[in-house]
């Protein structure tokens, strides 16, 4: 079996005294889409955000246990969080393009991470990212227009282009389609499937149907615990835990 790219061992996460995540062990496999599902407040987003230390921004949040990416402890004192986030990109629920041009949105990460200073290289990488995000044909002739002039679905693909421009190992997606209509959702889902060849994707979704559509592996969280984790096919056709069964069939929420 392939070695996991992300390994979590005994992860606990607290907000002040409230424990949001209880002793989670989880291996995420490379070049797969892994979906986190579960009712609101189950801890799936908290756990996702722990993978690129987004929780560092919340002062009351503390984490214990081991979280490794490609064998590196990402909570080790020497870890540069900015460098970590270059390895682990993130796409949010609401498309959040910077108030800059389409081009600048994608080029931004390349500049701050000093990935390239050459103008041609920059242009090539922006085009490559936009092509990978399936957006190039729609924006090629208006790269100087503001990013927020695009439709919601296009903005989300712009955010994905921005995330992949710096070639991360992992892309975290927190409800990436919840603000999109069904067609834009289908376009993003098709994109996710294509990106899987080059990246490892972890997606949090409220839509169990979306988890079934886009992922190869699914993790079901409930009350801060990991209840069941396995092949998406088995989770949705024959879950082993009664709580998973009750959740995916709409019996508990």
């Amino acid at each position: 079996m392939t070695d996991p790219i992300i390994t979590a061992r005994g992860v606990d996460i607290f907000y002040d005294t409230k424990q949001a995540i209880h002793n989670i062990d989880l291996d995420i496999l490379p070049n797969k889409v892994t979906a986190f599902i579960g009712p609101s407040g189950c801890g799936k987003s908290t756990f996702l955000r722990a993978i690129n230390r987004m929780n560092d921004l919340i002062p009351s949040c503390r984490i214990s246990g081991d979280m490794k990416i490609a064998g590196q402890d990402i909570y080790a004192p020497a870890v540069d969080v900015v460098a970590l986030r270059a390895q682990v990109g993130m796409v949010f629920q609401k498309p959040n393009p910077f108030p800059k041009s389409i081009f600048e949105n994608v080029a931004y990460g390349l500049k701050i991470h000093k990935i390239t200073t050459s103008k041609t290289e920059m242009q090539d990488r922006v085009e490559w990212s936009l092509r990978s995000a399936g957006l190039w044909d729609e924006v090629a002739d208006r790269l100087d227009d503001p990013g927020n002039s695009l439709s919601g679905g296009q903005q989300q693909r712009l955010c994905i282009a921005r995330a992949i421009a710096i070639k991360p190992k992992v892309i975290l997606m927190d409800e990436p389609c919840s603000a999109l209509d069904p067609i834009a959702t289908a376009v993003v889902e098709e994109l996710i499937d294509n990106l899987r060849k080059d990246y490892t994707i972890v997606i949090v979704t409220h839509s169990m149907q979306q988890a079934a559509r886009v992922s190869q592996r699914t993790a079901f969280f409930h009350l801060g615990s990991l209840v069941e984790y396995g092949e998406t096919k088995s989770i949705f056709t024959n879950p082993t835990d009664e709580r998973t069964q009750n959740y995916i069939t709409g019996r508990i929420g």
Binding site: I183, A186, V187, E189, E190, D193, Q209, A212, R213, T232, K233, F236, T237
Partner: protein, 232 residues
Amino acid sequence: MENEHIVKKFDANLEKIKATIIEMGGLVGLQVNDATAVLLSYDKSEVDRIRTYDRIINGLNKDVHDRAEILIVRRQPVALDLRQTLAPINISGELERIGDHAKSTAKRAHIIHSAPRADAVLDMITQMSANVQSMLEDVMVAYATADIELAEQIRDQDKDVDAIYKNAVQTVVETLSKTPDNAESLIHLTLIARNFERIGDHICNIARYVHQIVTGEDLKASVDPADLRLDK
């Protein structure tokens, strides 16, 4: 192409189910052909081959069910997609049953191969077999190309098969009174003729599913079950 899904895997999943059904149809056709050959000229190795086909066909039947189940779970098909997902479950069941009739024919051929030949009945069975084989080929074409006119023609052709079957039964009855010693093999031949008659019916059912996939109309549902309730 404008008819493709945005999510390309969706098309690939549906195509794979279709390809599996067509593969099943091909194998079932071979089985029917071989079963008829065994009946006319007995060959033990052919009987074994028919049994092997049967195992492959059962495997493909399960494959269609598994793929449809996963497609429902993963893609949540609606409208045409839903019909293209559900119909194959039924079609593969019909094909599997046709295979069972071929297997039953081969088994009966094994039982009667040393008994005196009843050529008149055998000729009729051979004719039924030729008819259903051609219908089976056509119904697979109708399914593959969503051709509802062809599906309609197939349902008409089944009337010929039914007519030959009726004749065959009549001939058996007449032959029985003349050569009662042959009763056992004649009964087997009647049941073999019955197999081919049933094969024709299964092919008609497949033709109905083709019609249903394309139009959404269920040709079998013209009677409301509520009207047939005994306690009404």
